[in-house]
Symmetry: C2
Subunit: 345 residues, 2 copies
DNA sequence: TCGATCGTGGGTAACGTTTTCCAAAGAAGA
DNA sequence: TCTTCTTTGGAAAACGTTACCCACGATCGA
């Protein structure tokens, strides 16, 4: 009377029996390990196919690998992160590894929960994208499982990092705007209080890069940074502040595309036009930056490349946990679009 | 000489020894199982805290639960899905369960890989959001692990479903546009070939709802459906077709917000204005629909609610696998914004 | 007072893999 | 011919947890 007869999962023992070999032999074939003749491999593989056997990851976790890579994204909504993810999954497509994502994390507490969950589930490696946790916490994670950190400066001997050259990115934007004839170029930054973390966060680099580039262009007097947050609301708020300046800036460099969205909204509400009254540039070159009606000038971070590099580093580290850690820094490129133009004289 | 002394993980045996009880006792406390006195619980919990013990999910997978829920999203980029995800994670926040996401799936093959991976990893339950796999495949998954399917019509005795009432949603849009005085209201649909799947997909419901509502408003003559795809490009392409009609529609009901984005782009390129020359409505009420400069009229599906309901159904099914399956259908609401207005006489 | 029941606790055998041995049989070298 | 490798295969012990069952003492009902 039981509906679909809850039949038992096919195990390595079934395969062994069906192929008339030992379970050890099957295990060797599964892992491409040494000590199995070609004939035996063929025999075992046939049995695996015939029975539709798939190894149980939980059981594997107890002894060896789970062939699972955990990826933690800080915010599913930020359209930049899917780029990175594509780079990661693309590189792993033809391997045995499977990618699983931790859901959107905001704050150290949520990050801790997700990383713990990943460790407890025996993930073979972890990719942390723009984590906000303390360095000590990151090293704690890295000492439990091979780890690569994306989008955070500052290196550690325990984990590898992949970052964008944010200073250069900021420099590209300022150079572009200055080249168009702008002098009063303002910047909207993400406000960060913790001084230890501060130096490692990309936003700080972008702000520094902005200042350096302004000086390099002889615009030191015009340096104007508003600190809100890397969200649309943050951009909106920052723009409102900038628009009430007695001497309004003619261009705004927003630290992220979502921030630029908020700026556009505030500018529209103020009855001003882009780029007529104000040029706006973003950072990340997310999909909607390319969207026709918006057409936002932005900095492209090559998310794909970041993901690809992260995977390469991670697999290397899985193969040899004691290999010295390395840092990869990628160069951004500027994508000029219709939100930037020469200032109205 | 080994750098950080790769110290062993704390196990249930360590806890048992430290608390001077049996491992069985510790296990009981962990699972809130019957057969442990309050004093013993306290003693064990203290030991757990002092040692910083966390159960190993792999080992648990072999005997009991892993306290892991797998969520498969078809497309990370579509901003509607994070809403659902928030509903899911929000409901599970205060439980022991941990959510892990399968990365963006396009196509049956990718879906099969992800679902298999989740089953192999001993997930206690799976939420499939708008899957494209065949019904047979879904039932296969559901017979291996408790499953809830979101955003797909048609029921099964093996899994529960949560859907939006797409017919009503379409009706809301047509009613709104007709109420504004529009008569030539066109619709952009997602093209689907497989007839078996067709009937279960939300887009088909929306198209049907559109046709029904048009008839109900006496606009049968004006029914005009273009089939492209639920992407920005699809919207762009669909709009181009509609704009070359000898008798141009005055309003377009796009089957999804991303489609509406493509429409807006095409309209802009054609030198027309919204809503002056053309009213545009979307579906999903994604974040960027609310974005000031866009301000898209859309249908809100209450993604949060969908996620919450899915979790409820899933936990119920985990508790009793043989409970009869149920269907939840939520009612959408219309959010009128600035892309819809009365037609230019 | 005597069995039955209940509450509390533990012993032990799974669960499905991988890993660490070890054995047997040839092959190669002396 | 006698060692010494190599190759091929398997037996058995982990890995960390839970499920199943049993034991013990106390309480209860008659």
């Amino acid at each position: 009377m039981e509906p679909p007869a809850p039949r038992r999962r096919v195990t390595i023992v079934d395969v062994a029996r069906h192929a008339q070999v030992s379970t050890t032999a099957v295990s060797k074939v599964l892992r491409n390990a040494y000590g199995a003749s070609p004939e035996m491999r063929a025999k075992v593989r046939r049995a695996i196919d015939e029975l539709g056997y798939r190894p149980h990851a939980g059981a594997r976790a107890l002894r060896g690998q789970t062939y699972t890579i955990g990826v933690m994204l800080p915010d599913i909504r930020n359209p930049f992160f899917p780029e990175i993810l594509d780079g990661i999954t693309g590189s792993l497509e033809d391997t045995e590894y499977q990618v699983l994502l931790g859901p959107g994390c905001n704050g150290e507490k949520a990050e801790a929960r997700v990383t713990e969950a990943m460790i407890d589930r025996g993930m073979d490696g972890i990719v942390l994208v723009a984590p906000v946790s303390s360095r000590a916490r990151l090293e704690q994670v890295a000492s439990a499982v091979p780890t690569v950190v994306i989008g955070r400066h500052g290196s550690s001997s325990l984990y590898d990092t992949v970052t964008d050259d944010d200073i250069e990115g900021a420099s590209l934007v300022v150079g572009h705007l200055a080249g168009l004839g702008h002098r009063r170029i303002a910047h909207i930054d993400h406000h960060e209080t913790d001084p230890a973390r501060l130096a490692e966060m990309p936003n700080a680099r972008r702000a520094d890069g902005y200042r350096q580039a302004m000086r390099a262009h002889g615009l030191e007097e015009s340096i104007d940074v508003v600190s809100t947050s890397y969200t649309q609301e943050g951009g909106y708020e920052g723009a409102r502040q900038l628009l009430t300046r007695p001497h309004r800036p003619t261009a705004v460099f927003a630290g992220a595309d979502v921030v630029a969205m908020g700026v556009l909204e505030a500018v529209g509400e103020a009855g001003l036009t882009v780029p007529g009254d104000l040029s706006v540039a973003g950072y990340d070159n997310t999909t909607f930056a390319a969207f026709g009606p918006i057409s936002l000038t932005s900095v492209d971070q090559a998310g794909h490349e970041m993901g690809r590099n992260a995977v390469r580093l991670l697999l290397d580290r899985i193969a040899d946990r004691h290999r010295p850690s390395s840092r990869v820094m990628l160069s951004p490129t500027l994508v000029p679009r219709r939100t930037t133009a020469p200032p109205a004289s």
